[in-house]
Symmetry: C2
């Protein structure tokens, strides 16, 4: 069955697919070959009905009475999310966070590979971080323009994030993961996602009242 994608699929559904994919990978590593919406939902804290409905947007991946073949479902979700390939990623910022990202080994098996590491600080340029030589941000555009790099990560201080975003967009990047704790403006068609640990911490600290000092 070909992948259904014509209908308009809610973004919130797309956002859950990576979680399903991640959980399925662990299930597979644990030796499971088949799973059910119920089992998956229990792991993820999501109702089984929601998982079935989410998956049904893309066609019938399961079999009634049996459940889902894990390798097959993984394969299909990788197709849907387009991670059945490796996206080259440019990282901007070679400080503590950028270095941690450069060292991280978990991207490749999930569809991404850090290929460039840029920084503006002359003291960092030329230094080796993991297997990368830190390149000057002034050459970002020239370096990336012939490369079909469509994914970038921003790991610079907040006051530099907007200019870095502009540079990345200028170099053809269409998806940006921004670790700087600030909102950035990008032209339509460019995607941005944010990671700010303090936002998560503050979300939780709201609930740390009552039964507490």
């Amino acid at each position: 069955m070909p992948l259904k994608l014509n209908e308009n699929i809610p973004d919130i559904v797309i956002g859950r697919l990576p979680l399903y994919l991640r959980a399925l990978t662990y299930l597979q590593q644990e030796g499971h070959e088949v799973t059910s919406s119920h089992e998956l939902g229990q792991r993820l804290g999501i109702s089984s009905a929601q998982i079935r409905k989410d998956l049904s947007h893309f066609g019938g991946f399961g079999k009634q009475g049996t459940g889902y073949q894990i390798p097959y479902l993984i394969h299909k979700l990788q197709d849907v999310l387009q991670v059945n390939r490796i996206w080259p990623v440019a990282v901007v910022g070679a400080g503590n966070l950028g270095s941690a990202i450069a060292h991280y080994r978990g991207f490749e098996e999930r569809g991404f590979r850090v290929c460039w590491l840029f920084d503006a600080d002359p003291r960092r340029i030329g230094q080796q971080v993991d297997s990368f030589i830190v390149q000057p941000i002034s050459e970002l555009q020239a370096t990336l323009s012939g490369s079909n790099c469509q994914v970038g990560m921003i790991a610079v201080p907040a006051d530099r994030a907007q200019e870095v975003a502009d540079l990345l967009v200028g170099a053809g990047v269409r998806a940006i993961l921004n670790y700087a704790p600030i909102n950035i403006n990008v032209p339509p068609g460019v995607l941005v996602q944010y990671i700010d640990p303090v936002v998560h911490l503050q979300h939780m600290s709201f609930y740390l009242r009552a039964s507490d000092e």
Copy 2:
């Protein structure tokens, strides 16, 4: 006016408050003293009506015709989110990520302070990372139990995350920020938030189709 909190406030509203607070801080730094739901919404890509409605859950913070006094609104949001104080945080995992967290200077002014850094690897224990001496995870419980530490961060490999979570919960932690790319189980009443960059990347790569190679 006292803080309204009795009514049941949707979690999704709470989740946006840290974003409002963050944007307000930048507005203040830029020299603004007053803002409007419209201006704030424009910055955040959120409708002004939603911002007004979100804020109204906690009482009237603005003035008709004028807008919101930024310092006052910041103060009120800090109250609501309970970040008008500093929460001590325990970090588990002193690898590249844990070290980057330990070096990060952005927690304190937003309500959190890393106070402990634990690791299981004997080669790391005793080493200095930023201003911290890495402590053995075997002493996590003893170290934290008298400390009223209620917030923990997990920065260990996925296959260790569950046991670390159990340790933290055992030591009295009630809010966990998990950087390991795996779901963890915690008893009711304990909060967990997740940070997995690949989830965000895969969310975006879905949309990197069409108009693409």
